[in-house]
C-alpha cells in the first residue's frame, strides 16, 4: 500500500513538498512504517538525524499512533517530531 506522511517542524527539511510517500506491505504496523521511513530518510535526506525520526511519533488527524498500531487504511499519516508549543 502507498502511504503519505505529512512532515512538520524540523522534519519538513526531509522533503520540500511537505510530505513523503512510501510503499509498504499491506497491514503493516507503525513500527514497520517507522523502519521504512528511516531507510528512506537515510537515502534521501541524510541531513536529518536518524535519532529525530526515532523520537518522533506517528499520528492520524485524530490521535497518536504508537508502534504496535496498524497503519490507517487510508494511508494518510503525519510524523510529529518532539513538540515545542506555547
Amino acid at each position: 500500500m502507498k502511504v503519505r506522511i505529512s512532515l512538520f517542524g524540523a522534519l519538513r527539511d526531509a522533503d520540500s513538498r511537505g510530505f513523503i510517500e512510501l510503499e509498504i506491505p499491506e497491514q503493516s504496523t507503525i513500527a514497520t512504517l517507522r523502519e521504512a521511513l528511516q531507510h528512506h530518510v537515510r537515502d534521501h535526506a541524510p541531513a536529518i538525524s536518524p535519532n529525530l525520526v526515532q523520537r518522533s511519533a506517528f499520528a492520524s488527524e485524530d490521535e497518536i499512533l504508537h508502534n504496535h498500531r496498524a497503519v490507517p487504511e487510508n494511508g494518510q499519516l503525519a510524523i510529529l517530531p518532539p513538540v515545542s508549543g506555547g
Binding site: F8, S60, A78, P81, P82
Partner: protein, 169 residues
C-alpha cells in the same frame, strides 16, 4: 462542549486576543479567572531572537486542546470555562504565542486548570517552534517527544534533573 473553546489562529490574519479569552470564560457563577499568556521574547538560551515561526498539525492540535480541556474539567470537578488558543505562522517579538484562560467558582481551581492546560499544550500538542536569530540563522526548538518509549525516558530524566525539555518558557 460549549464551555471549552479551542482555536488555532493564523496570525497573518489576526493576533491572539486576551480580551476575547476573558469574555469567553466570564460567567456569573465564577469568581476566579486565571490566565496565562505566552509571548515571544527577545532572547532564548542567550541568543538574540528576531521572531519565531509556529508550525502546527491543526486537526490533531485542536483535538488535543479539547482533550486537555476535558482533563482540566475532571481536575476541577465542578463548573469550568476554559479557553485555549495558539498562534500559527510567523510571530515578532512581543506577539502572543498562546492564550489560556480558566474560570471557576474559586481561585485555586482556576489556577490549577490554567496551569494544567499550559503544561499540557506545551508537552502534548503537535506544535513546533522555529526561532529566528539576529545573525540570520534559525533553529527548531528542542522539544518533548510524543513517542511513548521516549516520553517515558524523558519523564525519568526530568524527575532527576527538573524540566529538561529545553522549552522552558
Amino acid at each position: 462542549m460549549t464551555d471549552i473553546y479551542t482555536a488555532v489562529v493564523d496570525i497573518s490574519h489576526a493576533p491572539l486576543d486576551p480580551a476575547a479569552a476573558l469574555d469567553f470564560v466570564s460567567d456569573p457563577r465564577f469568581g476566579g479567572i486565571a490566565t496565562f499568556i505566552g509571548r515571544v521574547r527577545q532572547h532564548n538560551l542567550g541568543r538574540a531572537v528576531t521572531g519565531v515561526s509556529y508550525d502546527l498539525f491543526e486537526p490533531l492540535a485542536l483535538r488535543t486542546f479539547q482533550e486537555i480541556g476535558e482533563r482540566a474539567r475532571e481536575e476541577v470537578g465542578g463548573p469550568l470555562k476554559l479557553y485555549i488558543a495558539h498562534a500559527k505562522g510567523h510571530l515578532s517579538i512581543g506577539d502572543f504565542a498562546v492564550v489560556i484562560a480558566a474560570a471557576t467558582a474559586h481561585r485555586d481551581e482556576a489556577f490549577r486548570a490554567c496551569r494544567l492546560a499550559i503544561e499540557a499544550v506545551k508537552h502534548e500538542a503537535p506544535i513546533w517552534k522555529q526561532e529566528h536569530y539576529v545573525d540570520g540563522d534559525s533553529a527548531w526548538s528542542e522539544g518533548c517527544s510524543l513517542c511513548e518509549e521516549h516520553r517515558e525516558a524523558e519523564r525519568m530524566a526530568a524527575n532527576h534533573d527538573g524540566d529538561t525539555h529545553g522549552h522552558s518558557r
